[in-house]
């Protein structure tokens, strides 16, 4: 990552040559057509299920129960949306779409912000200080990359319970932060920042805190944005941990609520596909929008750092 600009930031000659070569496409290329067909098939494979969910939410539940999805667009979307947002799925009255959406937001933002702040601080300490126990801290932190939460789920639950953190936001969010992915990425990034920058800043009279806030944090904007997207999606999509920690219905997230939604499809009455599908769409919409709109940062963050 070239943050210290060098004199040669023009496009390299071969790239320009290739671009020129590519623009010259004199005849119809049948190979090109096949490429497009393959890609369209792939795109449909990805897209079709969600279009189907959307279609199903516009027609009456009775009709779906009999015939399933079709190409017909009905008029039930808005009533179903209203039902999904405002009607609770359970007797407590707290599992409304609106409520679960809010809880998902708290989880997504809380996790992403908490993780990034803590990770940046730790990575800064490891990279920019002469620390006696740097090696030990490094290994303590980076060993956590090895084991996902799922393999230590039972004891993690017990400890959270012993600390009295069941059904709290702290108990939901903080244990999820106990893995060093973001710290690792920020460390890699900080190491790639030219040495001279901190040296120049020290000569300019900046101490460690000022250098961090004035220079390193603004410099890491893109990295922070990429991390935020990845972590927001990760936090929002958590399922097992919220299922275990948040048992009060007022704290259910949308992703966690999927289980209730599917159970709603089973009961003796007419399954409420319209509402369920809208809730499912609501559960994927924010992370999908974030990933699509901030695609460039997201892809860069994901691929630059993981290698």
């Amino acid at each position: 990552m070239a943050h210290i600009p060098t004199t040669s930031d023009r496009a390299p000659a071969p790239a320009r040559l290739l671009a020129a070569g590519r623009r010259r496409a004199p005849r119809i290329r049948w190979g090109g057509l096949v490429d497009h067909l393959v890609l369209i098939a792939g795109a449909l494979f990805m897209l079709a299920p969600s279009l189907m969910l959307l279609q199903m939410s516009t027609i009456p539940d009775e009709q779906i129960m009999r015939t399933g999805p079709s190409f017909q667009i009905g008029d039930r979307f808005l009533p179903n949306l209203d039902k999904a947002l405002n009607e609770s799925m359970s007797f407590s009255g707290e599992t409304t779409g609106r409520n679960m959406f809010r809880n998902s937001m708290i989880l997504g933002f809380g996790f992403a912000i908490g993780k990034i702040v803590i990770a940046m601080m730790a990575a800064y300490a490891i990279v920019y200080f002469r620390l006696r126990f740097a090696m030990l801290a490094f290994w303590l932190i980076f060993t956590t990359l090895l084991l996902p939460l799922e393999v230590r789920i039972v004891p993690s639950y017990e400890i959270t319970q012993q600390l009295g953190l069941l059904n709290t936001w702290t108990g939901l969010i903080v244990p999820l932060i106990a893995s060093a992915t973001a710290t690792f990425f920020f460390r890699q990034y900080f190491l790639s920042v030219p040495e001279e920058l901190v040296e120049a800043a020290r000569i300019d009279g900046a101490g460690p805190i000022r250098f961090f806030l004035d220079i390193l944090v603004p410099l890491s904007r893109t990295m922070v944005a990429a991390m935020f997207i990845i972590m927001f999606v990760y936090g929002w999509n958590q399922y097992l941990w919220p299922t275990m920690i948040s048992t009060e219905e007022g704290r259910f997230t949308l992703v966690q609520g999927i289980k209730q939604i599917t159970q709603g499809l089973e009961g003796g009455h007419i399954p409420e596909f319209g509402r369920s599908n809208i809730l499912a769409i609501l559960a994927v919409l924010p992370p999908v929008l974030v990933v699509v709109f901030f695609q460039r940062w997201f892809v860069k963050g994901l691929t630059d750092t993981d290698k």
């Binding site: 210290i4 600009p5 060098t6 001279e196 120049a200 800043a201 000569i203 220079i215 410099l219 904007r221």
Partner: protein, 347 residues
């Protein structure tokens, strides 16, 4: 401004590598001192110890008579220009230049005035609100200079500040930097691996080789009386001709026996002979020069070939009629340097 004194300053890196062997020298107030040497010889290490960016393993460094070994870089009253400029990429030129002043708590209007003045001096006034990425290499270099001069430091440190520029711009900036230093009169230490930069800019040069000081002297002294074979071959383009020779029967001789001059008293045996290409008299003299190739440089020509079976280069004027073939040459006694063939030290 500042006097700087190093007393047996030594640097051993944590991996045990001795990058700078004990070095002692002084820099006078307002002097422009150039540290020159091949890449990896310890120039940056030495400069960074003066800046306070690197701990001094042994010895003492003082600025204006005060020992500053343990003093923080910000408190040494220095400014530094880096090879890659180390501009803060997210700040405008204005904020880049002002950052050091702001950290010292200078009043806003004074900062603004100083930035304006520096920008005017460096022709950066129109670019003050740009980011470094929107500037050309030469302009970035100037911003780095601006950041150094607004601080009115007692000591300027430059670490290969022109190495990232293309040849033409480098020549131009060389003159500008030197003129600026003259005008401001600030004591400066300038690190470079480019001997032309060293020769043209320095008041005094220190030649460094593998962590050791080979010679300290004015450009003229370094050029005309190199203290060692290393200095002789490192400074000057083309470098000094170096040949095997001997002191026998009262004369300094080439390896083929040609006598060149009277032997200095109390010396005998093998020596290394050195002579600058432009000091060679081509046309008459005791030695034979077999010219194989003539290199046309416009203003003058270089003749390449062999003398006594060893590579040799001579410098002739542009209208010289000499071409390939055998020519007689003279090597004037006053221009000859003699070195110990084992230690490389000047005799």
């Amino acid at each position: 401004m500042a006097r700087v004194a190093l007393d047996r300053v030594r640097k051993v890196y944590r991996n045990g590598f001795e990058a700078v062997k004990p070095a002692s020298f002084e820099i006078a107030d307002g002097e422009f001192l150039v540290l020159v040497g091949p890449s990896g010889c310890g120039k940056s290490t030495l400069l960074r110890m003066v800046a306070g960016l690197e701990d001094i393993t042994e010895g003492s460094l003082s600025i204006n008579g005060r020992e500053v070994n343990g003093v923080d870089p910000a408190e040494r009253d220095i400014a530094m220009v880096f090879q890659n400029y180390a501009l803060y990429p997210h700040m405008t030129v204005r904020r880049n230049i002002a950052y050091g002043l702001k950290n010292r708590g200078m009043a806003k209007d004074r900062i603004a005035a100083k930035v304006q003045e520096a920008a005017r001096m460096l022709n950066l006034t129109e670019h003050l609100d740009r980011k470094p990425s929107q500037l050309s290499g030469g302009q970035r270099q100037r911003v780095a200079m601006g950041r150094a001069i607004v601080r009115d430091p007692a000591l300027f440190l430059f670490d290969e500040p022109l190495s990232n520029l293309d040849a033409k711009l480098r020549n131009q900036m060389r003159i500008e930097v030197k003129a600026l230093q003259r005008r401001l009169g600030v004591t400066s230490i300038y690190v470079t691996h480019d001997q032309v930069e060293a020769m043209t800019m320095a008041d005094r040069i220190i030649v460094l080789n593998a962590g050791r000081i080979e010679q300290i002297g004015t450009p003229s002294e370094i050029y005309h009386s190199p203290a060692s074979v290393f200095v002789a071959s490192f400074m000057g383009a083309p470098p000094m001709n170096l040949m095997r020779g001997a002191i026998e029967t009262g004369a300094v001789r080439l390896s083929d026996g040609t006598a060149l001059m009277q032997a200095p008293a109390g010396r005998g045996g093998a020596v290394t002979l050195g002579i600058r290409p432009e000091d060679v008299h081509v046309g008459e003299g005791p030695a034979d020069f077999d010219v194989a190739l003539v290199e046309e440089l416009g203003a003058h020509r270089l003749l390449h070939g062999e003398v006594a079976g060893q590579p040799f280069t001579a410098h002739v004027l542009k209208d010289s009629p000499l071409g390939p073939g055998r020519h007689r040459i003279g090597l004037p006694a006053g221009a000859l340097s003699l070195f110990d063939p084992d230690t490389g030290v000047r005799l």
